[in-house]
Structures are given as structure tokens and as C-alpha cells.
Symmetry: C2
Subunit: 329 residues, 2 copies
Amino acid sequence: MQKIRLGIVGYGNIGRGVAQAVRMNDDMELVGIFSRRDPASVKLDAADVGTPVYAAADAEKFQDDIDVMILCGGSATDLPEQGPAYAKLFNTVDSFDTHAKIPEYFPKVDAAAKEAGHLSLISCGWDPGLFSMMRILSGACLPQGEVYTFWGDGVSQGHSDAIRRVPGVRHAVQYTRPYPEALDAVRTGDCPNLTTRQKHYRECFVVAEDGADTDAIEQAIVTMPNYFDEYNTIVHFITMEELLRDHGTMPHGGFVFRSGKTDENNKAIVEFSLKLDSNPQFTASVLVTFARAVYRMAKEGNTGAVSVFDIPLRYLCTLSYEEQRAKLL
Amino acid sequence: MQKIRLGIVGYGNIGRGVAQAVRMNDDMELVGIFSRRDPASVKLDAADVGTPVYAAADAEKFQDDIDVMILCGGSATDLPEQGPAYAKLFNTVDSFDTHAKIPEYFPKVDAAAKEAGHLSLISCGWDPGLFSMMRILSGACLPQGEVYTFWGDGVSQGHSDAIRRVPGVRHAVQYTRPYPEALDAVRTGDCPNLTTRQKHYRECFVVAEDGADTDAIEQAIVTMPNYFDEYNTIVHFITMEELLRDHGTMPHGGFVFRSGKTDENNKAIVEFSLKLDSNPQFTASVLVTFARAVYRMAKEGNTGAVSVFDIPLRYLCTLSYEEQRAKLL
């Protein structure tokens, strides 16, 4: 069987996860990792040693060798530029996750992909991605109801970074955690109104610089606008040794609920949740799975930008369509 | 806006649910109910009074008036015949749920629908249906793992009927219930091997005939092959008054889990669950939602039989595709 040939742009957490996910899927192979750094300077993880590393500038030479390019850059500055640029050269999958900017990102990728005859899946992963699928599916099946999304327990990279910018902070890891009582309130089916403060709290593990004023650091964190001021926030000061030992992994997860009624009285609750030891590995696994769909749909002549809302599930699965119906329906 | 015009074949629990679901969706209207009984003899629920009832034999006269016909017959004997027959006349949606016979049902409906230029969605609802979607989606995203399906707490019609056939039984309702400890064992991510007996138990509320031997009835139930012998079964004898008062509704629900790993060590667990006050109403709501997709996909020229694996989620939702991406992605 001809394997699906994937490329990776960007060797950060997600790029490493894609390399790992390819190893979990027998029908995939990894052609190479493309980096804006000098390829010779990219230090591969032990498991990835042997994978060719190329300069991103040379990617266009690989158009005949790669079926789908997985764009693993960040949403803030990398993908707004890389998404349209790579869609001109390859079928692509990305995890663009700035929800508010999807309406401007989509048409740019769409135009580039259509002009070149490629297919580009944007905003894949678990949120946006699987959670988006649950929102649209459960919302359609229960048109009269409320949707709730919770995140955690898990490490928020953005919030951890924000703490690290506070003067006197050496290192920090921030966990977003849903209140169990808020989850249970939703599970009653009574469609509670929950404020931001009632849904999640934030727990921060901070390593202060020697002699730093920890009271001042704590105040700076808990009052930080947008990031912490609307939440109950717990700050723990720990040593660098403790942080590296106890907070070095990237777990995450979350919940999507749809709570509605099927007549005036009868309630119905749909609940979807993820519990992930490694957020980047699972995100990457979703990207690779949807790359299979992109490969197949592109072969059928589809072009332009698409989202997870446009992908029939049959394209995700390696079983024949007959086997899918016999075993999974 | 032109509404989507639906018809119902069969006015049982699901047919009643479809009539109710149409009232929850502004873009739908119900053209009529088709019955094999004399239309004059069909007694409509209060909420449905005013809906025209027609003889099933006259359905073909309504081909220009109905966009999608929802087939609400049973899977044992009605749908194997009605599925292909109605696919010749209409776009259809059905809830054929005899999992083992889907491979022979699908091609019959497919041939009939293709020949007539119609689109027919088979085996829709929540299992098969939403649960099937979760099995294929989570299985693809976690290729190395195990899938678990649990049903309940809920009333099983088939098992209730089986008890009612035991000599000395006047009436009975059977609940299928998952063991909470089995659910928790799956949630650990350790992929436990669970026997049939470890996953679910069965609780039966039975009204015995006057003077019947309740010990003999209980023995007949708990040892009944296929239905009860592989389960721990609890039998309660109650009065008809109690049964009608406390066990007259049709709740149901269940769980689909995918438990897998994203590398040698990191676990990931996907959990999807439903908690439904009314099993038939929610099932019907899913049928009506997918009828929207069938209507749209048929308009685009698609024909033949399809399953939920073939439906892009965008077709389920009344929002424009731009709004979907802006609000739900």
C-alpha cells in the first residue's frame, strides 16, 4: 500500500507530537521536518533521529513528495503568514486556534488553496476541532438548549507565559481547572447561568527569583487584566527543582455540554470530555487523522479551505466503508 | 423561507417524537403522518391534532409535497421492507438499529434510492447514530486503544417485552444499568477487560397476575437465555398502580469511551455520554436534524444510501457556513 506522505513545518511541541502520531498510524510516513532555523541546528528528540530536516525555504522543492503538509507554527504570528503561503504549495492541515480571527483567516487560506488546486483544513485539533464538532452536532440535535464549554484540568501555555513576564518570576506553570460543582450544576439539566468566576479557577506554581517580593508577585498575578482578574486564582511559590519535577508535563482536557429539552418537560444532556496526559500529542494525533481525510478529499478533486465541519467521518478511518458500517455503525 | 417539508411513516413512539421535534425546529414543517391503519382510526396525541393522517398506500401521491420522509417503523419487520420501498418514492431517513443486519440492509436501500435518484440515510438516531460517530471519530484519533460502549440507565423495550412473555406476568418494565465501578474502571485509562456481567446489570419491575408463583417468575426471568442469563438481574414485584405511576416514562442514555495512548506512556481518554428523559423524543430529534442534511445533500445531487459517517456536520446546522465558523468553530 502507498503510504500517505506527510511533512511537518515547525518542530515545537505540536511538530514533535505529529512525528510521534505518524508512528502510531501504519498508513502514514513522515517525509521530513521543515524549519526556519538552520536545519543543522535543529536537535531532534531521540525518537525522531533519522528524520530529515530541511530548510523551510526549500519546501517548494518537495511538492511531488508530500501529500499533506502539517503546519505546526503558532497562531499569533506564524500561521497567519504560513497558512496562505503553504496552501499555495501543498494540501495542508493547521491548528489555527485564535477563535476570533478565524473569519479573516479562512478566506485567505481558501483563496490561496483554490488558486493552486489544493485542499487546506484550518483550525483542527481539539478546540477548535473535536470540541467544535460537538458544539455543532449537539446544538443541532437539541435546538432549544444551552452549550457549555469547560477547559482543564490542564496547563495553559498563554497564562504560564503571562506569569513569567511578571518582574521577579523565574519560571511558572499555570493550571486551568473547572469547578467540579459547576460541572455538576450543568449535569442537572437546569441550564444554570454561570459566570466566568464560577466556571474555572486558576492555580499557579511560581518560582521566584532570589530575594523577590513574593507578596508583590502574587498581587501582580491575581489582578492581571484579561488573564486572572476575572478568576479565583491560587498562587504557590515553589523551588525550581519542584517545578521541574512535578510540573514538567502538559496535561489538558475539557468538557462540552449541550443541555436542552425535547419537549416542555423532558430534558436531554449531551456530554463530551477529554482527559489527556499530553495535550500536544493528542492535538497532533487529531491533526494527523484529519490529514488522512484531506489526502482523500483532495484526491477526489476538492480544493480550497475547509474546517472540521466539512469532513465526513468516513474519511478519517482506515477501514473500508463496508467494514466501517459493519463494525462501527 | 421555504420550510423543509417532512412526512412521517408510522405513528408509534418515534413517529410521535418526530412530530414533536418538528415543532422545535423553525425551518421544518410536517406535511402528514402515513399509517398502514385506517387513517380515521389513528388517534393523535393532543399536540398533534390537526396534522393530516393519510393511508400509507397513498404516500406515492405526495412525492411533490414532501422533501424527506422519516421512516418510523420497527427494525425487525417494518424497515427491511419499508426502507427500500420508500427510497423509491422519497428521500428518506430511518433508524434501522439491527446492527448485525446493516450490511444487508444498506445495499438494498442504496439500489432503490440510486435508481430513483433519491438520497436515503439509514441507521440514524443515537445508537446507531451519534454513538457510531463517536466510535469512528475517537477510534481514528486514538488508533492504539480500546472502545467501550455502555447503555443506560434506561428502559429496554426488548427486555421488557421478553419479561411480559413469561407465564404469570401481567406487565413489566426493565432497566439496563451500567455499573458505576465499571465506568470508573474505564476512566482510569488502564483499558480493563470487562465481561458482560461486569459492565451492566438489569433491574426489572414486574406486575404478577393474581395468585402467580413469583419465585417461578423470578427464576424464569434471571435464567432467560440471551436476555438475562449473562447478567446480574434484580427482580421487584410491584402493583400495577405502582408500575404505571413510577415506570411510565422512557428514559435512556449511555456512554462511549475511547481509551488509548499517544505514546508508550501518555494516556488519553475520550468520553461521550447522553442522559435522556425521553429516549424516543431524542432519537426523533436526531432523525429530524439529519433530515435537514439529507434535504440539502439531495439538492446538491447526491443519491443512494448513506450513513451518519457520510454527512459533513455543516449540513446539520441552520446557521450559514460563515456563521458556523465564526460562532461554533
